[in-house]
Subunit: 204 residues, 2 copies
Amino acid sequence: MTTTLTYSEIMEMEQRQRAHLINSIGGFKSVALIGSTDTKGQTNLAIFSSIVHIGSNPPLLSFIMRPDSVERHTLANILDSRFYTINHINAHIYEKAHQTSARYPKLVSEFDATGLTPEYKNEFVAPFVKESQIQIAIEFKERIEISINQTIMIIGEIKAIYFPSDCLSLDGFMNIEKAGTISVSGLDSYHTTQVLKRLDYAKP
Amino acid sequence: MTTTLTYSEIMEMEQRQRAHLINSIGGFKSVALIGSTDTKGQTNLAIFSSIVHIGSNPPLLSFIMRPDSVERHTLANILDSRFYTINHINAHIYEKAHQTSARYPKLVSEFDATGLTPEYKNEFVAPFVKESQIQIAIEFKERIEISINQTIMIIGEIKAIYFPSDCLSLDGFMNIEKAGTISVSGLDSYHTTQVLKRLDYAKP
């Protein structure tokens, strides 16, 4: 049996209920931890489910944030230090990763609060998550204000990728399922994956 | 063992190889069919893996497109008719869904080419995909040019949602795994999911 929800029914929902619905209705999402630091070395770690591929040449990833949320420390740090990290989440750390969404004060690092381990390498200023199996170093490139609801899109360029050696295919495909990367639905539902098939490039 | 890919190594990759890498490195992605029509009734159906939640009040979803790609018919239709549909993909139709990415001429509807069935309801101008278990009616709201690489972000407002009645939770969460929705990694790897857990709202 099929149910229909109209625009007015959606708008009449209680705010938290509508947030659950609209966050889950767009499909499964990437989920990752963004690590950042201010220029004084105060670190921040926050979970995001809006990371999207913008282009491959140059290699660009974006994510969306709301400036009035817990994400504001991440935004301030990125604008301050210009670099950040994107760290994949696996089944061993998803509960700690989720906990970074709690509203900690600026002076509390979510690394300390959750027990995830900051890792520094190759003189990159922002902290990686040691427990993440795939880690990406990013340089901030562009901030786009989305006027319709005052959200912000941040675009960054990939400077380095760290990954398990056996997960990169000859054709360039990174087997993130093999690496243990998980997905999220809505605000709080975490999922492992099971591959159906890789399909060939489609021709008419 | 861990491997590192630096920016210059990524830029030196063959173009298709780099596309596979960067499309897969951001994590699992939503994947859905966008149905559209021009004002003469010529329909188009295209697969997108960049659908992202922009906000819940009002309910907004975005996606990214490249104007020089097969996606250009979708863009022209949306700007022409102002309405489109987002249709979830399940394991029964993912091969047909993938086939919509082939470069068909404008006068060929991907519905005809792939055997997916257009469905019209409630006088909404754009076609839904009958075989999709979750269907969303969208009104075009905003087009944002991403200057760094000339991609385009399209933002639309949800006007209606059609879904299996037993998939909506009391708290508003839509159980898309129960509905059979799948995810994609990279350009061509399709995955079912298996829930780990829904977690509570995080507090410090």
